[in-house]
Symmetry: C2
Subunit: 299 residues, 2 copies
Protein backbone atom coordinates (compact mmCIF):
# COMPACT_ATOMS: atom_id res chain seq x y z
CA UNK A 1 0.00 0.00 0.00
CA UNK A 2 2.48 2.53 1.20
CA UNK A 3 4.85 1.33 -1.48
CA UNK A 4 2.38 1.95 -4.23
CA UNK A 5 1.85 5.53 -3.20
CA UNK A 6 5.49 6.25 -2.81
CA UNK A 7 6.32 4.88 -6.21
CA UNK A 8 4.37 7.67 -7.76
CA UNK A 9 6.20 10.55 -6.28
CA UNK A 10 8.67 10.15 -3.49
CA UNK A 11 10.30 6.90 -4.36
CA UNK A 12 13.81 7.81 -3.26
CA UNK A 13 12.55 9.30 -0.04
CA UNK A 14 10.70 6.13 0.70
CA UNK A 15 13.79 4.11 -0.05
CA UNK A 16 15.79 6.30 2.26
CA UNK A 17 13.21 6.05 5.00
CA UNK A 18 13.36 2.27 4.94
CA UNK A 19 17.13 2.28 4.72
CA UNK A 20 17.36 4.60 7.71
CA UNK A 21 15.19 2.18 9.60
CA UNK A 22 17.15 -0.93 8.68
CA UNK A 23 20.59 0.67 8.55
CA UNK A 24 21.48 -2.08 6.14
CA UNK A 25 21.26 -1.88 2.36
CA UNK A 26 20.70 -5.56 1.82
CA UNK A 27 17.82 -5.89 4.26
CA UNK A 28 16.27 -2.60 3.19
CA UNK A 29 16.44 -3.63 -0.45
CA UNK A 30 14.74 -6.89 0.44
CA UNK A 31 11.96 -5.05 2.18
CA UNK A 32 11.60 -2.75 -0.82
CA UNK A 33 11.59 -5.67 -3.26
CA UNK A 34 14.44 -4.23 -5.24
CA UNK A 35 18.02 -5.35 -5.65
CA UNK A 36 20.64 -3.98 -3.33
CA UNK A 37 22.64 -2.22 -6.06
CA UNK A 38 19.52 -0.35 -7.14
CA UNK A 39 19.05 0.89 -3.62
CA UNK A 40 22.67 2.00 -3.50
CA UNK A 41 22.15 3.91 -6.73
CA UNK A 42 18.99 5.61 -5.59
CA UNK A 43 20.43 6.67 -2.27
CA UNK A 44 23.47 8.13 -3.97
CA UNK A 45 21.17 9.92 -6.39
CA UNK A 46 19.23 11.35 -3.49
CA UNK A 47 22.42 12.54 -1.86
CA UNK A 48 23.59 14.02 -5.13
CA UNK A 49 20.31 15.88 -5.64
CA UNK A 50 20.28 17.20 -2.11
CA UNK A 51 23.96 18.06 -2.24
CA UNK A 52 24.43 16.57 1.19
CA UNK A 53 25.91 13.32 2.45
CA UNK A 54 23.23 11.38 4.26
CA UNK A 55 25.36 8.36 5.06
CA UNK A 56 28.78 8.15 6.50
CA UNK A 57 30.22 5.18 4.69
CA UNK A 58 33.05 3.20 6.12
CA UNK A 59 33.46 0.28 3.83
CA UNK A 60 30.71 -2.24 4.17
CA UNK A 61 29.14 -0.45 7.09
CA UNK A 62 27.65 2.96 7.44
CA UNK A 63 25.67 5.20 9.69
CA UNK A 64 23.56 8.29 9.25
CA UNK A 65 25.13 11.71 9.25
CA UNK A 66 23.45 14.57 11.03
CA UNK A 67 21.88 15.52 7.72
CA UNK A 68 20.82 11.90 7.35
CA UNK A 69 19.02 11.99 10.67
CA UNK A 70 17.27 15.14 9.61
CA UNK A 71 16.44 13.56 6.26
CA UNK A 72 14.95 10.57 7.99
CA UNK A 73 12.60 12.73 9.99
CA UNK A 74 11.67 14.81 6.97
CA UNK A 75 11.22 11.79 4.75
CA UNK A 76 8.85 10.15 7.18
CA UNK A 77 6.92 13.36 7.53
CA UNK A 78 6.73 13.90 3.79
CA UNK A 79 5.61 10.36 3.14
CA UNK A 80 2.90 10.63 5.73
CA UNK A 81 1.67 13.88 4.28
CA UNK A 82 1.87 12.42 0.84
CA UNK A 83 -0.40 9.59 1.77
CA UNK A 84 -2.80 11.95 3.44
CA UNK A 85 -2.84 14.13 0.36
CA UNK A 86 -3.64 11.17 -1.85
CA UNK A 87 -6.42 9.96 0.37
CA UNK A 88 -7.92 13.42 0.56
CA UNK A 89 -7.91 13.72 -3.19
CA UNK A 90 -9.48 10.35 -3.76
CA UNK A 91 -12.00 11.15 -1.05
CA UNK A 92 -12.85 14.33 -2.90
CA UNK A 93 -13.12 12.29 -6.09
CA UNK A 94 -15.70 10.05 -4.47
CA UNK A 95 -17.63 12.92 -2.96
CA UNK A 96 -16.64 11.90 0.56
CA UNK A 97 -15.15 15.27 1.33
CA UNK A 98 -15.35 18.77 0.03
CA UNK A 99 -17.88 21.55 0.18
CA UNK A 100 -21.52 21.74 -0.64
CA UNK A 101 -23.27 25.09 -0.97
CA UNK A 102 -26.94 24.58 -0.46
CA UNK A 103 -29.96 26.86 -0.33
CA UNK A 104 -33.33 26.18 1.19
CA UNK A 105 -36.46 27.68 -0.31
CA UNK A 106 -38.10 30.69 1.30
CA UNK A 107 -41.49 29.40 0.28
CA UNK A 108 -41.04 26.07 1.99
CA UNK A 109 -41.34 25.30 5.67
CA UNK A 110 -38.15 25.24 7.67
CA UNK A 111 -38.36 21.53 8.34
CA UNK A 112 -38.94 20.57 4.72
CA UNK A 113 -35.71 19.33 3.25
CA UNK A 114 -33.99 19.45 6.61
CA UNK A 115 -34.42 15.71 6.98
CA UNK A 116 -32.70 15.07 3.69
CA UNK A 117 -29.85 17.40 4.54
CA UNK A 118 -29.54 15.76 7.94
CA UNK A 119 -29.31 12.31 6.39
CA UNK A 120 -26.68 13.56 3.98
CA UNK A 121 -24.62 15.13 6.73
CA UNK A 122 -24.72 11.91 8.67
CA UNK A 123 -23.67 9.82 5.73
CA UNK A 124 -20.97 12.25 4.51
CA UNK A 125 -19.63 13.86 7.67
CA UNK A 126 -16.48 15.17 5.97
CA UNK A 127 -18.39 17.35 3.56
CA UNK A 128 -18.79 20.88 4.81
CA UNK A 129 -22.38 21.85 4.05
CA UNK A 130 -23.16 25.54 3.99
CA UNK A 131 -26.81 26.47 3.91
CA UNK A 132 -28.78 29.61 3.24
CA UNK A 133 -32.29 30.35 2.06
CA UNK A 134 -33.68 32.15 -0.96
CA UNK A 135 -36.48 32.31 -3.44
CA UNK A 136 -36.56 29.93 -6.34
CA UNK A 137 -35.46 32.62 -8.79
CA UNK A 138 -32.43 33.63 -6.78
CA UNK A 139 -31.57 30.01 -6.03
CA UNK A 140 -31.61 29.03 -9.67
CA UNK A 141 -29.46 32.02 -10.52
CA UNK A 142 -27.05 30.97 -7.77
CA UNK A 143 -26.84 27.51 -9.28
CA UNK A 144 -26.14 28.88 -12.72
CA UNK A 145 -23.40 31.19 -11.62
CA UNK A 146 -21.83 28.59 -9.37
CA UNK A 147 -22.35 30.17 -5.96
CA UNK A 148 -24.74 27.35 -5.13
CA UNK A 149 -24.49 23.62 -5.72
CA UNK A 150 -27.94 22.53 -4.65
CA UNK A 151 -31.16 24.42 -3.96
CA UNK A 152 -34.67 23.65 -2.91
CA UNK A 153 -37.02 25.30 -5.37
CA UNK A 154 -40.64 25.42 -6.39
CA UNK A 155 -41.07 23.82 -9.79
CA UNK A 156 -41.57 24.15 -12.61
CA UNK A 157 -38.21 25.68 -13.44
CA UNK A 158 -37.63 26.21 -17.10
CA UNK A 159 -33.88 26.12 -17.40
CA UNK A 160 -32.12 23.44 -19.41
CA UNK A 161 -28.96 24.04 -17.32
CA UNK A 162 -30.79 23.17 -14.15
CA UNK A 163 -32.49 19.91 -13.30
CA UNK A 164 -35.10 19.65 -10.60
CA UNK A 165 -35.71 16.47 -8.75
CA UNK A 166 -39.04 16.21 -6.92
CA UNK A 167 -38.75 15.99 -3.16
CA UNK A 168 -42.46 16.04 -2.26
CA UNK A 169 -45.78 17.62 -2.99
CA UNK A 170 -48.25 19.43 -0.81
CA UNK A 171 -51.59 21.09 -1.07
CA UNK A 172 -51.90 24.84 -1.45
CA UNK A 173 -54.33 26.50 0.96
CA UNK A 174 -55.90 29.89 0.72
CA UNK A 175 -55.26 32.39 3.49
CA UNK A 176 -58.28 34.56 4.31
CA UNK A 177 -58.83 37.32 6.82
CA UNK A 178 -60.70 35.89 9.81
CA UNK A 179 -63.58 38.28 9.18
CA UNK A 180 -63.95 37.34 5.52
CA UNK A 181 -67.38 35.96 4.55
CA UNK A 182 -65.76 32.86 3.08
CA UNK A 183 -64.09 32.22 6.42
CA UNK A 184 -67.43 31.43 8.07
CA UNK A 185 -67.63 27.87 6.82
CA UNK A 186 -64.95 25.24 7.26
CA UNK A 187 -65.97 23.63 4.01
CA UNK A 188 -63.75 23.54 0.98
CA UNK A 189 -64.05 26.60 -1.21
CA UNK A 190 -65.29 26.35 -4.76
CA UNK A 191 -63.36 28.19 -7.43
CA UNK A 192 -66.35 30.28 -8.43
CA UNK A 193 -66.48 31.57 -4.83
CA UNK A 194 -62.98 33.02 -5.01
CA UNK A 195 -63.06 34.33 -8.54
CA UNK A 196 -62.66 38.07 -8.49
CA UNK A 197 -61.33 38.17 -4.91
CA UNK A 198 -58.39 40.56 -4.54
CA UNK A 199 -55.19 38.55 -4.18
CA UNK A 200 -51.80 39.14 -2.64
CA UNK A 201 -48.94 37.24 -4.22
CA UNK A 202 -45.17 37.28 -4.17
CA UNK A 203 -43.32 39.14 -6.95
CA UNK A 204 -43.58 36.86 -9.93
CA UNK A 205 -39.83 36.90 -10.69
CA UNK A 206 -39.20 35.25 -7.31
CA UNK A 207 -40.76 32.03 -8.58
CA UNK A 208 -42.28 32.35 -12.01
CA UNK A 209 -43.32 28.79 -12.71
CA UNK A 210 -44.86 28.43 -9.29
CA UNK A 211 -46.64 31.80 -9.66
CA UNK A 212 -48.21 30.83 -12.95
CA UNK A 213 -49.16 27.40 -11.72
CA UNK A 214 -50.96 28.94 -8.75
CA UNK A 215 -52.91 31.27 -10.99
CA UNK A 216 -54.01 28.39 -13.25
CA UNK A 217 -54.95 26.15 -10.40
CA UNK A 218 -56.88 28.70 -8.32
CA UNK A 219 -58.34 30.86 -11.04
CA UNK A 220 -58.78 28.72 -14.14
CA UNK A 221 -61.45 31.04 -15.48
CA UNK A 222 -59.14 34.04 -15.56
CA UNK A 223 -56.48 35.86 -13.54
CA UNK A 224 -57.71 37.60 -10.40
CA UNK A 225 -56.89 41.18 -9.41
CA UNK A 226 -53.46 41.14 -7.78
CA UNK A 227 -53.63 44.01 -5.34
CA UNK A 228 -50.14 43.64 -3.94
CA UNK A 229 -46.88 41.76 -4.50
CA UNK A 230 -45.23 41.06 -1.16
CA UNK A 231 -41.99 39.09 -1.02
CA UNK A 232 -42.02 38.53 2.72
CA UNK A 233 -44.44 35.88 3.97
CA UNK A 234 -44.88 37.51 7.36
CA UNK A 235 -45.75 40.83 5.77
CA UNK A 236 -47.98 39.07 3.28
CA UNK A 237 -50.06 37.42 5.98
CA UNK A 238 -50.27 40.65 7.89
CA UNK A 239 -51.72 42.23 4.76
CA UNK A 240 -54.21 39.35 4.50
CA UNK A 241 -55.17 39.84 8.15
CA UNK A 242 -55.70 43.51 7.40
CA UNK A 243 -58.25 42.54 4.78
CA UNK A 244 -56.26 43.60 1.72
CA UNK A 245 -56.90 40.31 0.00
CA UNK A 246 -56.50 36.56 0.05
CA UNK A 247 -53.28 34.62 -0.57
CA UNK A 248 -52.36 31.09 -1.55
CA UNK A 249 -49.94 29.44 0.89
CA UNK A 250 -48.47 25.91 0.77
CA UNK A 251 -49.75 23.67 3.53
CA UNK A 252 -46.51 23.22 5.49
CA UNK A 253 -45.71 26.87 5.36
CA UNK A 254 -49.26 27.69 6.46
CA UNK A 255 -48.81 25.52 9.51
CA UNK A 256 -45.71 27.49 10.43
CA UNK A 257 -47.36 30.84 9.89
CA UNK A 258 -50.66 30.33 11.72
CA UNK A 259 -51.77 33.59 13.23
CA UNK A 260 -54.92 34.90 14.97
CA UNK A 261 -56.12 37.17 12.21
CA UNK A 262 -55.91 34.51 9.52
CA UNK A 263 -57.71 31.33 8.59
CA UNK A 264 -56.62 28.82 5.99
CA UNK A 265 -59.12 27.03 3.78
CA UNK A 266 -58.78 24.10 1.39
CA UNK A 267 -59.95 24.37 -2.18
CA UNK A 268 -62.44 21.94 -3.62
CA UNK A 269 -61.21 19.15 -5.82
CA UNK A 270 -59.02 19.20 -7.81
CA UNK A 271 -57.01 20.56 -4.91
CA UNK A 272 -54.17 22.85 -5.96
CA UNK A 273 -50.79 21.37 -5.20
CA UNK A 274 -47.22 22.40 -5.49
CA UNK A 275 -44.09 20.35 -5.44
CA UNK A 276 -40.91 20.98 -3.57
CA UNK A 277 -37.93 20.25 -5.79
CA UNK A 278 -34.21 19.87 -5.38
CA UNK A 279 -32.38 21.71 -8.13
CA UNK A 280 -28.83 21.18 -9.36
CA UNK A 281 -26.80 21.98 -12.43
CA UNK A 282 -27.69 19.45 -15.10
CA UNK A 283 -24.08 19.00 -16.12
CA UNK A 284 -22.65 19.07 -12.62
CA UNK A 285 -20.09 16.35 -12.16
CA UNK A 286 -19.10 17.18 -8.62
CA UNK A 287 -19.41 13.86 -6.81
CA UNK A 288 -20.43 15.67 -3.65
CA UNK A 289 -23.50 16.97 -5.45
CA UNK A 290 -24.16 13.72 -7.26
CA UNK A 291 -24.07 11.85 -3.97
CA UNK A 292 -26.65 14.19 -2.52
CA UNK A 293 -28.99 13.68 -5.46
CA UNK A 294 -28.38 9.96 -5.36
CA UNK A 295 -29.30 9.94 -1.68
CA UNK A 296 -32.55 11.70 -2.53
CA UNK A 297 -33.36 9.22 -5.29
CA UNK A 298 -32.49 6.06 -3.43
CA UNK A 299 -33.93 7.27 -0.10
Amino acid sequence: MRRLLAETGLRRWFYFSVLAEELNFTRAADRLHIAQPSLSQQIRALERDLGVALLERSGPRFRLTAAGEAARTEADDLLERYERAVSRITAAGQGLSGELHLAYSHSAAADQGAGLVGAYRERYPDVRVSAEAGWTGRNVAGLRQGTLDLAFVRPPVDEPEVTVCPVGAEEILLALPREHPLARTRRRLRRDQIAGEPVILWPREHAEGYYDSVIWQFWPSGPPPVVREEPDDQQLLRAVAAGEGVAPVPEHRARELRSPGIVFRHLASPQPTVQLGLAYRTRDTNPVVLNFVALLRTG
Copy 2:
Protein backbone atom coordinates in the same frame (compact mmCIF):
# COMPACT_ATOMS: atom_id res chain seq x y z
CA MET B 1 14.76 27.02 -7.79
CA ARG B 2 11.43 25.57 -7.02
CA ARG B 3 11.59 23.74 -10.31
CA LEU B 4 14.89 22.13 -9.44
CA LEU B 5 13.59 20.78 -6.18
CA ALA B 6 10.38 19.52 -7.62
CA GLU B 7 12.18 17.71 -10.40
CA THR B 8 13.70 15.41 -7.86
CA GLY B 9 10.58 14.07 -6.32
CA LEU B 10 7.22 15.58 -7.00
CA ARG B 11 7.55 16.47 -10.64
CA ARG B 12 4.05 15.59 -11.65
CA TRP B 13 2.59 17.40 -8.66
CA PHE B 14 4.50 20.47 -9.57
CA TYR B 15 3.26 20.22 -13.12
CA PHE B 16 -0.27 19.91 -11.90
CA SER B 17 0.11 22.82 -9.55
CA VAL B 18 1.19 25.09 -12.38
CA LEU B 19 -1.48 23.74 -14.68
CA ALA B 20 -4.15 24.37 -12.07
CA GLU B 21 -2.89 27.92 -11.83
CA GLU B 22 -2.86 28.57 -15.55
CA LEU B 23 -5.83 26.43 -16.49
CA ASN B 24 -4.20 26.12 -19.88
CA PHE B 25 -1.87 23.35 -20.98
CA THR B 26 0.02 25.43 -23.47
CA ARG B 27 0.83 28.28 -21.11
CA ALA B 28 1.58 25.94 -18.23
CA ALA B 29 3.93 23.92 -20.40
CA ASP B 30 5.69 27.11 -21.42
CA ARG B 31 6.16 28.09 -17.80
CA LEU B 32 7.47 24.62 -17.05
CA HIS B 33 9.84 24.68 -20.01
CA ILE B 34 8.46 21.48 -21.38
CA ALA B 35 6.40 20.76 -24.45
CA GLN B 36 2.63 20.76 -24.19
CA PRO B 37 2.23 17.07 -25.11
CA SER B 38 4.60 16.10 -22.31
CA LEU B 39 2.48 18.01 -19.86
CA SER B 40 -0.64 16.27 -21.15
CA GLN B 41 1.08 12.93 -20.67
CA GLN B 42 2.23 13.67 -17.15
CA ILE B 43 -1.14 14.96 -16.01
CA ARG B 44 -2.84 11.88 -17.40
CA ALA B 45 -0.26 9.75 -15.64
CA LEU B 46 -0.98 11.54 -12.39
CA GLU B 47 -4.68 10.97 -12.83
CA ARG B 48 -4.05 7.33 -13.65
CA ASP B 49 -1.88 6.84 -10.58
CA LEU B 50 -4.37 8.56 -8.32
CA GLY B 51 -7.28 6.77 -9.92
CA VAL B 52 -9.21 10.03 -10.00
CA ALA B 53 -10.09 12.47 -12.74
CA LEU B 54 -8.56 15.83 -11.90
CA LEU B 55 -9.69 17.60 -15.05
CA GLU B 56 -13.03 17.70 -16.68
CA ARG B 57 -12.13 17.81 -20.34
CA SER B 58 -14.48 19.17 -22.91
CA GLY B 59 -12.55 19.26 -26.11
CA PRO B 60 -9.89 21.92 -26.19
CA ARG B 61 -10.95 23.39 -22.88
CA PHE B 62 -11.14 21.96 -19.42
CA ARG B 63 -11.70 22.80 -15.81
CA LEU B 64 -10.82 21.23 -12.50
CA THR B 65 -13.03 18.60 -10.97
CA ALA B 66 -13.72 18.63 -7.25
CA ALA B 67 -10.86 16.17 -6.87
CA GLY B 68 -8.76 18.50 -8.98
CA GLU B 69 -9.43 21.38 -6.64
CA ALA B 70 -8.45 19.20 -3.72
CA ALA B 71 -5.37 18.05 -5.59
CA ARG B 72 -4.36 21.62 -6.24
CA THR B 73 -4.47 22.44 -2.55
CA GLU B 74 -2.64 19.28 -1.62
CA ALA B 75 -0.03 19.71 -4.33
CA ASP B 76 0.79 23.22 -3.22
CA ASP B 77 1.02 22.06 0.36
CA LEU B 78 3.21 19.11 -0.50
CA LEU B 79 5.54 21.20 -2.62
CA GLU B 80 5.93 23.75 0.11
CA ARG B 81 6.69 21.07 2.66
CA TYR B 82 9.04 19.43 0.25
CA GLU B 83 11.07 22.58 -0.09
CA ARG B 84 11.11 23.06 3.64
CA ALA B 85 12.27 19.49 4.11
CA VAL B 86 15.12 20.00 1.67
CA SER B 87 16.24 23.23 3.26
CA ARG B 88 16.15 21.66 6.71
CA ILE B 89 18.26 18.76 5.55
CA THR B 90 20.82 20.94 3.86
CA ALA B 91 20.88 23.17 6.92
CA ALA B 92 21.59 20.13 9.05
CA GLY B 93 24.31 19.18 6.57
CA GLN B 94 26.01 22.51 7.10
CA GLY B 95 25.65 22.42 10.84
CA LEU B 96 23.19 25.29 10.82
CA SER B 97 20.56 23.31 12.63
CA GLY B 98 20.38 20.26 14.79
CA GLU B 99 21.32 19.39 18.33
CA LEU B 100 24.46 19.75 20.34
CA HIS B 101 24.88 17.94 23.63
CA LEU B 102 27.51 19.71 25.65
CA ALA B 103 28.96 19.28 29.11
CA TYR B 104 30.82 21.80 31.22
CA SER B 105 33.53 20.71 33.58
CA HIS B 106 32.86 20.48 37.28
CA SER B 107 36.40 21.53 38.00
CA ALA B 108 36.14 24.72 35.99
CA ALA B 109 34.51 27.95 37.01
CA ALA B 110 30.95 28.48 35.81
CA ASP B 111 31.94 31.34 33.50
CA GLN B 112 34.77 29.48 31.83
CA GLY B 113 33.57 28.27 28.46
CA ALA B 114 30.29 30.12 28.81
CA GLY B 115 31.58 32.85 26.50
CA LEU B 116 32.41 30.36 23.81
CA VAL B 117 29.05 28.67 24.10
CA GLY B 118 27.35 32.05 23.99
CA ALA B 119 29.20 33.02 20.83
CA TYR B 120 28.22 29.73 19.27
CA ARG B 121 24.58 30.12 20.19
CA GLU B 122 24.55 33.56 18.65
CA ARG B 123 26.15 32.41 15.45
CA TYR B 124 24.04 29.23 15.13
CA PRO B 125 20.70 30.12 16.64
CA ASP B 126 18.91 27.14 15.08
CA VAL B 127 21.05 24.59 16.88
CA ARG B 128 19.52 23.40 20.12
CA VAL B 129 22.33 23.31 22.65
CA SER B 130 21.77 21.22 25.73
CA ALA B 131 24.26 21.68 28.53
CA GLU B 132 25.09 19.81 31.68
CA ALA B 133 28.17 19.52 33.87
CA GLY B 134 30.37 16.64 34.85
CA TRP B 135 33.87 15.54 35.73
CA THR B 136 36.37 14.94 33.02
CA GLY B 137 36.08 11.18 33.34
CA ARG B 138 32.34 11.12 33.03
CA ASN B 139 32.44 13.66 30.20
CA VAL B 140 34.90 11.64 28.18
CA ALA B 141 32.82 8.53 28.73
CA GLY B 142 29.77 10.48 27.55
CA LEU B 143 31.60 11.47 24.41
CA ARG B 144 32.64 7.92 23.70
CA GLN B 145 29.20 6.47 24.13
CA GLY B 146 27.58 9.26 22.17
CA THR B 147 25.48 10.90 24.87
CA LEU B 148 27.68 13.96 24.58
CA ASP B 149 29.03 15.77 21.55
CA LEU B 150 31.34 18.24 23.23
CA ALA B 151 32.74 18.51 26.74
CA PHE B 152 35.01 20.78 28.68
CA VAL B 153 37.64 18.65 30.35
CA ARG B 154 40.90 18.86 32.19
CA PRO B 155 43.71 17.52 30.03
CA PRO B 156 45.60 15.41 29.54
CA VAL B 157 43.08 12.88 28.32
CA ASP B 158 44.62 9.73 27.02
CA GLU B 159 42.01 8.48 24.58
CA PRO B 160 42.72 8.20 20.88
CA GLU B 161 38.97 8.40 20.22
CA VAL B 162 38.78 11.78 21.86
CA THR B 163 40.61 14.93 20.85
CA VAL B 164 41.07 17.82 23.21
CA CYS B 165 41.47 21.34 22.00
CA PRO B 166 43.01 23.79 24.49
CA VAL B 167 40.69 26.57 25.56
CA GLY B 168 42.91 28.26 28.12
CA ALA B 169 45.33 27.70 30.96
CA GLU B 170 45.35 28.85 34.53
CA GLU B 171 47.49 28.59 37.61
CA ILE B 172 46.71 26.09 40.30
CA LEU B 173 46.61 27.50 43.82
CA LEU B 174 46.81 25.68 47.09
CA ALA B 175 43.94 25.97 49.53
CA LEU B 176 45.02 26.07 53.17
CA PRO B 177 43.08 26.33 56.39
CA ARG B 178 43.23 29.92 57.61
CA GLU B 179 44.98 28.80 60.79
CA HIS B 180 47.66 26.84 58.97
CA PRO B 181 51.20 28.02 59.66
CA LEU B 182 51.85 28.39 55.93
CA ALA B 183 48.88 30.73 55.71
CA ARG B 184 50.72 33.38 57.74
CA THR B 185 52.74 34.71 54.84
CA ARG B 186 51.28 35.89 51.55
CA ARG B 187 54.46 34.85 49.80
CA ARG B 188 54.58 32.04 47.27
CA LEU B 189 55.08 28.65 48.85
CA ARG B 190 58.13 26.59 48.11
CA ARG B 191 57.63 22.95 47.28
CA ASP B 192 59.75 21.79 50.20
CA GLN B 193 57.37 23.63 52.49
CA ILE B 194 54.38 21.62 51.39
CA ALA B 195 56.04 18.25 51.08
CA GLY B 196 54.48 15.83 53.51
CA GLU B 197 51.42 17.99 54.13
CA PRO B 198 48.23 15.94 54.24
CA VAL B 199 46.29 16.51 51.03
CA ILE B 200 42.67 16.32 50.00
CA LEU B 201 42.04 15.48 46.35
CA TRP B 202 39.17 14.40 44.16
CA PRO B 203 38.80 10.71 43.35
CA ARG B 204 41.42 10.02 40.78
CA GLU B 205 39.04 8.39 38.30
CA HIS B 206 37.18 11.69 37.99
CA ALA B 207 40.13 13.22 36.16
CA GLU B 208 43.12 10.95 36.01
CA GLY B 209 45.50 12.94 33.86
CA TYR B 210 44.79 16.12 35.77
CA TYR B 211 45.21 14.26 39.07
CA ASP B 212 48.60 12.91 38.12
CA SER B 213 49.71 16.23 36.69
CA VAL B 214 48.84 17.97 39.94
CA ILE B 215 50.85 15.45 41.94
CA TRP B 216 53.90 15.91 39.71
CA GLN B 217 53.70 19.65 39.74
CA PHE B 218 53.14 20.13 43.46
CA TRP B 219 55.07 17.23 44.87
CA PRO B 220 57.88 16.40 42.45
CA SER B 221 59.86 14.75 45.21
CA GLY B 222 57.22 12.17 45.92
CA PRO B 223 53.50 11.76 46.41
CA PRO B 224 52.03 13.29 49.55
CA PRO B 225 49.70 11.57 51.97
CA VAL B 226 46.19 11.79 50.51
CA VAL B 227 43.97 11.85 53.56
CA ARG B 228 40.69 12.08 51.74
CA GLU B 229 39.17 11.90 48.26
CA GLU B 230 36.27 14.29 48.01
CA PRO B 231 34.40 14.67 44.73
CA ASP B 232 32.44 17.74 45.75
CA ASP B 233 34.41 20.99 45.75
CA GLN B 234 32.26 22.58 48.42
CA GLN B 235 32.75 19.63 50.72
CA LEU B 236 36.42 19.54 49.87
CA LEU B 237 36.96 23.12 50.93
CA ARG B 238 34.96 22.56 54.06
CA ALA B 239 37.35 19.75 54.91
CA VAL B 240 40.30 22.04 54.24
CA ALA B 241 38.77 24.70 56.50
CA ALA B 242 38.37 22.03 59.16
CA GLY B 243 42.10 21.47 58.98
CA GLU B 244 42.04 17.99 57.46
CA GLY B 245 44.57 18.98 54.83
CA VAL B 246 45.49 21.22 51.96
CA ALA B 247 44.08 21.04 48.43
CA PRO B 248 45.08 22.24 44.98
CA VAL B 249 42.41 24.36 43.29
CA PRO B 250 42.50 26.05 39.87
CA GLU B 251 42.61 29.82 40.05
CA HIS B 252 39.20 30.58 38.53
CA ARG B 253 37.49 27.98 40.59
CA ALA B 254 39.25 29.31 43.71
CA ARG B 255 37.86 32.74 43.04
CA GLU B 256 34.37 31.29 42.95
CA LEU B 257 34.82 29.29 46.12
CA ARG B 258 36.41 31.89 48.39
CA SER B 259 35.31 31.27 51.93
CA PRO B 260 36.23 32.63 55.38
CA GLY B 261 38.01 29.56 56.71
CA ILE B 262 40.26 29.23 53.64
CA VAL B 263 43.19 31.04 52.14
CA PHE B 264 44.67 30.37 48.72
CA ARG B 265 48.39 30.58 48.11
CA HIS B 266 50.46 30.59 44.92
CA LEU B 267 53.29 28.16 44.51
CA ALA B 268 56.79 29.33 43.72
CA SER B 269 58.03 29.10 40.18
CA PRO B 270 57.48 27.00 38.15
CA GLN B 271 53.90 27.68 39.02
CA PRO B 272 51.64 24.69 38.58
CA THR B 273 49.16 25.18 35.79
CA VAL B 274 46.31 23.30 34.28
CA GLN B 275 44.59 23.73 31.00
CA LEU B 276 40.91 23.79 30.24
CA GLY B 277 40.20 21.77 27.12
CA LEU B 278 37.31 21.23 24.80
CA ALA B 279 36.96 17.54 23.99
CA TYR B 280 35.17 15.94 21.05
CA ARG B 281 35.19 12.61 19.29
CA THR B 282 38.20 12.52 17.01
CA ARG B 283 36.22 11.00 14.17
CA ASP B 284 33.11 13.07 14.67
CA THR B 285 31.82 14.34 11.36
CA ASN B 286 28.75 16.09 12.66
CA PRO B 287 28.97 19.58 11.17
CA VAL B 288 27.31 21.02 14.24
CA VAL B 289 30.25 19.82 16.32
CA LEU B 290 32.83 20.74 13.73
CA ASN B 291 31.44 24.25 13.55
CA PHE B 292 31.79 24.61 17.30
CA VAL B 293 35.40 23.49 17.22
CA ALA B 294 36.08 25.72 14.24
CA LEU B 295 34.65 28.65 16.15
CA LEU B 296 37.01 27.89 19.01
CA ARG B 297 39.99 27.66 16.67
CA THR B 298 39.25 30.76 14.62
CA GLY B 299 38.00 32.76 17.56
